[in-house]
């Protein structure tokens, strides 16, 4: 049985890539140094050969009049989209926040009507893996040298970046030293009423991360239902992830649980003086794995392949890092404010394919616990 090996694959790929990038001295987007290396794009995207392929693909997209690119899924920070458009100014990417079932329904309608509009699907690994298995994706044609571990389901999907959930504290109300940083510390009764978390009752990240504590078996025995119930006893809940961050920023609660790093990152960009600090958990840090795939029968297939390759390029990965995510490619910079990858002790996840249905019963269980 390959499960024990498989279950470590995703965090291992994540950690390995980050170790490599740390070893390379990544950070701060070193495109200035590489500008002189290549020809087409000055080395910003990759080697000279890779950049020539980028140029050829861009020309092909232009020849086919692929001036628009429709991406279905939660959009990245505007800075990522701007960086792509700066590189390829004649292609305008447009994100539609269609996730999981909504995206499939839209694609079913497009298929039935013949009016195909979606080019790229962007989401967490579970829905994208599910799409690939159900025939909604076309093979990714890599220009850049993407490690095999990042390409899944027979070349249909690619892991692009990873995003962590952590603890957010209001430094006016609690010091870093005293803040809880493990799951066990979080359920200490002394924090009752002082923690805020997004409600798992309506699904979403709250339910999904709680489900991670219940499966696979390693998590269930180390963490399990005791932690889930302990959290429920301690936390006050809010309706949306972003409200976890805002209610710690405004001092309503001293501790935010399952704070999504990009939201904190965005908040800091606009309000650098906010009295908040993001802490990674000392172990079993929950995280989401970002994946993408080119949608089958995409109306702009060249632009779609160009986007996917750009995301995996040096420039694309640096853009994601600059918006608060850990890029998946080795050699990419780390996001500002987060520790080196080997310090991020990540929680064990189910393997990609098993995750499609493996979390569902636990998500339902957690939702029911919160009255959902």
């Amino acid at each position: 049985m390959s499960r024990p090996r498989q279950k470590w694959r995703v965090p291992a790929a994540f950690a390995v890539s980050l170790v490599v990038l740390a070893g390379c001295g990544g950070g701060g987007g070193g495109s200035a140094g590489s500008d002189a290396e290549g020809d087409g794009y000055g080395g910003a995207l990759g080697t000279a050969k890779e950049e020539a392929q980028f140029q050829a693909l861009y020309d092909k997209a232009m020849k086919a009049k692929e001036y628009e690119l429709s991406l279905y899924g939660p959009p990245p920070a505007q800075s990522v989209i701007d960086a792509f458009q700066k590189r390829f100014p004649d292609i305008e990417p447009t994100f539609e926040q269609l996730q999981s079932q909504d995206r499939i329904t839209r694609l079913q309608a497009e298929k039935a009507s013949g009016n195909h509009a979606g080019d790229v699907a962007v989401d967490g690994r579970t829905p994208i893996t599910s799409m690939a298995k159900d025939g909604w994706c076309e093979p990714f044609e890599p220009i850049v040298d993407v490690p095999a571990d990042l390409i899944g389901i027979n070349g249909l999907t690619v892991t692009t970046y990873n995003t962590v959930f952590g603890i957010l504290i209001n430094t006016d109300l609690i010091s870093k030293d005293k803040a809880p940083q493990t799951w066990e510390e979080l359920i200490d009764p002394k924090w009752k009423g002082k923690e805020v978390m997004v409600s798992p009752a309506a699904g979403g990240a709250g339910a999904f991360v709680n489900a991670m504590l219940l499966t696979p078996e390693a998590n269930a025995s180390a963490l399990g239902m005791d932690i889930v119930k302990g959290l429920k006893a301690n936390v006050s809940v809010v309706a949306k992830d972003a409200q976890t961050v805002s209610s710690v920023v405004d001092g309503t609660y001293p501790i935010g649980v399952l704070a999504y790093y990009p939201y904190y990152f965005e908040t800091l960009k606009t309000t650098p003086d906010a009295p908040v600090k993001f802490l990674l958990m000392k172990k079993d840090t929950p995280y989401s794995v970002g994946k993408e795939c080119v949608i089958a029968d995409a109306p702009h297939p060249n632009a779609a392949q160009l986007w996917m390759n750009w995301v995996m390029s040096k420039e694309g990965q640096a853009a994601y890092a600059a918006s608060g995510s850990y890029p998946a490619m080795p050699g990419s910079p780390a996001p500002t404010g987060l520790p080196a990858p080997d310090e991020a002790k990540l929680i064990t996840l189910l393997p990609d394919e098993e995750s499609v249905t493996g979390y569902a019963p636990y998500v339902k269980q957690v939702q029911a616990l919160y009255g959902g």
Binding site: L98, N115, Y263, T357
Partner: protein
């Protein structure tokens, strides 16, 4: 319905008096009085009704079928009872049903009570500012529900929230005690629909002859007794229609229960939030979405809405509600003395709660770095970001034209259905009623899904998916029930003898309709158009699935921003949308005013010519 005497007291039973001209009696079956006896008219009528049936009844029917089929696509796969059994045997289903009923009844009753009272104040009293009540209420309606909800959320949650500061200063209470839970949920949802209740009631109320009240007063009834025994009973068609609509709204409300119900301990889930949860469940081992489970929960809602409509029909059976009777018609206001200041204060309170407080809060939020966090200061960056985006102009324009056109078409369909329902036989009347209510039975979350899966197999319609046409068709379907509630109250109050008079004077049916019926029903029609258009502009459920990258609305864009944690930017975009709706509404109002004056002048000239023309009976 059999004929009744011209007296219009609602409780009049239905004896059969000696037939007179005014005892208009509709034909027993569909036809002659509306679409004529010519085969062409019948064929046109039949075709119209067929199209309406396909557009309006097919989606809910498909949702019912989807509850019994499990597969990768909604409404497809193997037939099975399993999803229904799972839903019916789950305790949470019944908790959700009870929650939904409690919320919807509480909301409907309170919103209707306030709406009716204020409508009466506006048209039957001389309360100060009464002429401002309708425009102010209409203005409040422009606030999209998510925007309104976020406004109250920020007002009630957080240490910086004004309400919590007051509570702390006065009682030493900390935290956000009013941030979520039943009282807050009912209060916020009810306050949001009071303006809707008002706008539905004010049209019919303003066209009621005050002579009816006078008759009651002369017969010895007090003011209160006249109001409760004459005014309210005459408004039954509108009241029951609006009550049913509000109840349905309470059952399908999504954004507000998400903000104020889900964070409660324990969570208060209603149909819409439960349907969304179920729809997002994964069915093992295939990994399909649980369409069937979500549809099965929708079935319970269908059943409840059917019961509501049947109750409404039963309560209105064999009654006549015509209140516009031609000569002597006087909708005059009366002075009620100093108590009118109390009426005014109720109006001001409603305006504060339903509009001003959440609006002001969101205006602040739009200028904040983090919405609701005053300590971080203010900025104009959100507006700069929104207004510098190339897509902002595009999405606002799309929202405006799609909402205006869809709202007009929905109000037109509503007028046709209401008229057909009043002037046709039982079969057509029943069909019209079903058509105008059916889409309400679909929870908001399933609306787009039901429409898409319904249109996908239809050869002509499937080619339209992804275009603005399908979005408009979808909006017509979801907005017609709302528009119908606004229009039907006006239609049902027009006595048939007015049309008969026109016909006897030689006017054709079309001329009669456009010169007598339409002008009388125009206030209700415009109210229906406006309410439908505003609802469409703020609608989220439909464009999420039916729109395409090239046809994108402002509400969806703002909702995306909110979902990404950029609530302050979402507030800025919502404000831009509201200003655009306000400007467009003001332009439309000015235009209509101008046209109305021209028509009046034209009519006056025609009357003058007719009366002074040689051969006229008035010619001297």
């Amino acid at each position: 319905m059999t004929g009744t005497p011209t007296q219009t007291l609602a409780e009049t039973p239905t004896p059969t008096p000696t037939p007179t001209l005014t005892d208009w009696s509709p034909p027993s079956r569909a036809s002659a009085s509306w679409h004529g006896s010519r085969p062409g008219g019948k064929a046109l009528m039949g075709l119209t009704m067929t199209i309406l049936v396909i557009l309006f009844l097919y989606p809910p029917l498909l949702m019912v079928m989807a509850a019994f089929r499990r597969g990768p696509i909604a409404g497809q796969g193997e037939w099975t009872m399993a999803p229904l059994v799972e839903v019916l045997t789950s305790q949470s289903t019944w908790v959700v049903t009870l929650n939904s009923i409690v919320l919807s009844v509480a909301v409907a009753v309170s919103a209707l009570a306030f709406g009716t009272f204020l409508a009466w104040v506006a048209v039957r009293t001389t309360t100060p500012l009464r002429r401002w009540m309708t425009p102010v209420m209409a203005g409040i309606l422009v606030i999209p529900s998510l925007f309104y909800g976020l406004g109250w959320y920020v007002t009630l949650n957080g240490t910086g929230a004004p309400v919590n500061k007051v509570l702390k200063a006065l009682f030493g209470v900390t935290g956000s005690p009013l941030g979520s839970g039943w009282p807050t949920l009912i209060f916020v949802v009810a306050a949001h629909v009071i303006p809707v209740g008002y706008l539905f009631m004010v049209g019919p109320m303003s066209r009621m002859d005050s002579a009816l009240d006078d008759a009651a007063r002369m017969s010895g009834a007090g003011r209160g007794a006249a109001f409760f025994t004459v005014t309210l009973p005459l408004l039954r068609p509108t009241i029951f229609g609006v009550l049913a609509l509000m109840t349905s709204y309470g059952m399908t409300a999504f954004e507000l229960p998400l903000l104020f119900g889900v964070p409660a301990q324990p969570s208060i889930l209603v149909f819409s939030t439960k349907v969304l949860n179920t729809y997002h469940e994964t069915v093992a081992p295939e990994g399909w979405a649980n369409y069937a489970g979500a549809s099965a929960i929708g079935l319970i809602l269908v059943l409840l809405v059917v019961l509501l409509v049947l109750a409404r029909e039963w309560l209105l059976r064999n009654r006549r509600f015509a209140t516009i009777t031609g000569k002597g018609f006087r909708p005059e206001p009366r002075s009620y003395g100093r108590i009118q200041w109390l009426f005014l204060s109720v109006f001001v309170l409603v305006v504060l709660v339903a509009g001003v407080i959440p609006l002001v809060q969101m205006v602040f939020s739009a200028f904040q770095h983090v919405a609701g966090v005053y300590s971080l200061g203010f900025t104009t960056a959100n507006f700069e970001d929104v207004l510098s985006s190339r897509r902002t102009f595009q999405v606002v324009v799309t929202s405006l034209w799609v909402a205006t056109l869809s709202g007009f078409l929905a109000a037109s369909v509503a007028l046709m259905l209401s008229w057909v329902s009043q002037r046709s036989g039982k079969a057509v009347r029943l069909l019209s009623t079903i058509i105008s209510w059916a889409p309400i039975a679909i929870p908001g979350v399933l609306v787009g899904l039901a429409l898409l899966t319904a249109y996908m197999p239809v050869p002509g319609l499937q080619r339209l998916i992804g275009t603005s046409i399908i979005l408009i068709l979808g909006f017509i379907v979801v907005a017609t029930p709302i528009a119908t509630r606004a229009v039907e109250g006006g239609v049902v109050q027009i006595a048939p003898e007015l049309e008969e008079s026109g016909r006897m004077s030689g006017a054709s049916k079309a001329v009669t309709f456009f010169t007598i019926v339409l002008p009388l029903v125009l206030p209700s029609f415009i109210a229906g158009w406006f309410i439908a258009a505003v609802g469409i502009a703020g609608n989220l459920a439909l464009p999420v699935l039916l729109s395409s990258p090239s046809v994108r609305t402002a509400a969806v864009t703002a909702y995306d921003l909110y979902n990404q944690g950029q609530t302050a930017q979402a507030a800025a975009l919502f404000l831009v949308l509201m200003v655009a709706i306000g400007l467009a509404g003001a332009a439309a109002w000015l235009l209509m005013n101008g046209v109305s004056r021209l028509l009046k002048r034209g009519r006056a000239i025609r009357i003058e010519r007719a009366t002074t023309m040689e051969g006229s009976v008035l010619h001297v």
